[in-house]
């Protein structure tokens, strides 16, 4: 039998590690997102960029006027706007990643049956998971660059280390998107998605976005610091304010664990769901 191109391509991966789960073609899944994006509404995309900027103007300049400078930890005094700007960047990285990996993924998994179609081809579940998450990260990257382009000229990024906030935002988005997709794979009804919002809002309000965590008693601080958004804010704030310490690597490690765990669960779940 004459081998078709599709077969020859699939055979090349035969026998390699994880060949049942990964065909090395997550970029085909990513390409699909690009094509769909070209004809989608730009409004939704724009909103991801506008939201943190609006928060910054409203709180940073509105509330900031009554606050003056604030201790960003280790005695470093910065303007209120410069204090919350990194938190807003971290939060928007989280929100964008969560939105993409929950609502969008749920729709593709259950309504449009997009993943059914993908997994009937020679793609594997890890290709689908990585491709979908990569798209969320591309968006996150563009938002992060856009946000930095707005706040840096306003003098809200005092340190050159702040440039690293952009890749940090992508790392954070990667963590949230991986875990978000893993959680979504367990949902069967739209209503269950509400649980995600319930979890995210208090995390946003109490993770030290708008004031230092030192206002809380020690044991509450400890709990909050362990939450992913607080980890994200600590990391990005340290970078934009130039408070560099080795301890920042702990935050990086935190997100690497989230990524690995999320991808592992997502791949297993997609495999279980579509290979019943």
């Amino acid at each position: 039998m004459l081998l078709s191109a599709a077969v020859a391509i699939a055979e090349r991966r035969e026998g390699k590690f994880g060949d049942r789960y990964y065909a090395g073609r997550s970029r085909a899944v990513l390409e699909r997102s690009f094509i769909a994006f070209k004809s989608s509404t730009w409004f939704v995309v724009l909103s991801g960029f506008v939201e943190p900027v609006l928060y910054l103007f409203s709180f940073g300049y509105g509330v900031g006027r009554f606050i003056g400078n604030i201790d960003a930890g280790s005695g470093k005094m910065v303007s209120y706007a410069a204090f919350i700007a990194p938190a807003l960047l971290a939060t928007s990285a989280m929100n964008g990643a969560v939105y993409d990996s929950t609502w969008n993924v749920f729709f593709k998994m259950n309504q449009s049956r997009l993943y059914h179609g993908m997994l009937a081809t020679s793609l594997g579940p890890l290709d689908v998971a990585l491709g979908e998450i990569a798209w969320a990260l591309m968006r996150g990257l563009i938002y992060a660059i856009g946000f930095m382009a707005v706040v840096a000229p306003m003098g809200l990024i005092p340190s050159w280390w702040g440039v690293l906030a952009i890749p940090a935002a992508v790392l954070i988005a990667f963590g949230f998107a991986s875990v978000g997709m893993a959680i979504t794979s367990y949902f069967t009804r739209f209503q269950q998605m509400g649980a995600i919002n319930i979890a995210l809002l208090p995390m946003f309000l109490f993770s030290g976005s708008f004031y230092p965590l030192t206002v809380f008693p020690g044991w509450i601080q400890a709990i909050i610091k362990a939450l992913p958004l607080s980890q994200a804010i600590q990391l990005i704030r340290a970078l934009t304010l130039g408070v560099m310490q080795v301890g920042l690597l702990v935050h990086v490690l935190y997100f690497l664990v989230m990524i690995t765990f999320g991808l592992f669960i997502t791949t297993r779940r997609l495999d279980a769901l579509f290979m019943r």
Binding site: E11, I35, S39, A120
Partner: protein, 308 residues
């Protein structure tokens, strides 16, 4: 002379306690059009999904193109074109984009896919819809697009799960014509259906399934010869009367089936039987003489209709 592309032995699939497929054996030869006929829930789709390397079996041996789909999933799926029962076109994309990206999932180059798109659009009779979003297509068009999409990777086997369910008669005939062309070109087709006319039109050989088991196997003509008579006489005495008239009808032929709305008399010469019945003083309200079909085979094998 003909090689077996698919070999299945003792295939069983359980979902918890429920046995969806119960130890079935069959094989499919190259360039054969092979059908799975049976009512909903017979285990046809489950069997197809196992062959298509998108479901794991509970036990038994399965070989597709000489390999186990459970171990070599991606490699086997690269050989297959799959047309699922439930549509899964990419609703955010246009007709052409759907064909294009599906080829990309198989790792095919953009250039290669683009060189195929015109032919695929022509095959699906969708040339004028090439830049239309798939949401705006009719049910028949969508089904044709899914078939065209499944061909983008030049598959060796095309798997069609209930290909014409939900389509109007005209759309069904267009689709059958397309599938017939593929068959003529030597494509190996696997078709599940609960329409006996579809099975008769498209399948060289088929298995009749019910409740996870194979009831019989053969070509449509063989099955009819084996399990039914040449002709069937359908008589209607009115809904209340059919059951009452049944014993009287039995002596006119080899076998009868009493359905709620009619009595079926199985015989080699239905016209003659009808004359005898009328000659004996019975007066059915309506009568119909026809050839036996796979529906009769199924009724004989299971005591039930295909579509209930």
């Amino acid at each position: 002379m003909s090689e077996n592309l698919i070999e299945v032995q003792g295939l069983t699939k359980k979902y918890g306690e429920f046995v969806a497929v119960n130890g079935i054996d069959f094989h499919v030869r190259k360039s054969e059009s092979f059908g799975f006929l049976g009512p909903n829930g017979a285990g046809k789709s489950t069997t197809m999904r196992i062959l298509a390397a998108t479901s794991r079996r509970t036990s038994g041996e399965v070989s597709v193109l000489g390999r186990d789909p459970e171990i070599h999933g991606p490699q086997i799926r690269a050989h297959l074109g799959v047309v699922p029962q439930e549509g899964n076109l990419d609703v955010q994309l246009t007709v052409t984009e759907n064909l294009y990206i599906y080829g990309r999932y198989f790792g095919l180059s953009s250039k290669f896919i683009r060189s195929k798109i015109d032919d695929l659009l022509e095959f699906a009779q969708l040339e004028e819809k090439r830049d239309t979003k798939v949401d705006a297509l009719s049910g028949g068009m969508k089904r044709r697009l899914i078939i065209a999409r499944s061909l983008v990777s030049d598959p060796d086997i095309l798997i069609l799960d209930e290909p014409t369910t939900g389509l109007d008669p005209q759309a069904r005939h267009i689709l059958w014509d397309r599938l017939f062309r593929l068959k003529e070109d030597g494509m190996t087709l696997l078709i599940t259906t609960h329409y006996m006319d579809e099975a008769e039109q498209l399948c060289d050989r088929l298995i009749v399934m019910d409740k996870g088991s194979i009831m019989s196997e053969g070509s449509p003509a063989e099955l009819i010869r084996e399990h039914s008579t040449r002709e069937v006489l359908e008589v209607r005495f009115g809904s209340e009367q059919n059951v009452r008239m049944a014993p009287a009808m039995e002596k006119f032929c080899d076998r009868i089936e009493v359905l709620p709305d009619r009595i079926l008399l199985y015989t080699e010469d239905a016209e003659a039987v009808l004359e005898e019945i009328v000659g004996a003083g019975h007066s059915p309200k309506t009568s119909l003489v026809r050839r036996s079909s796979l529906e009769d085979v199924f009724l004989r094998l299971t005591g039930r209709s295909l579509i209930d």
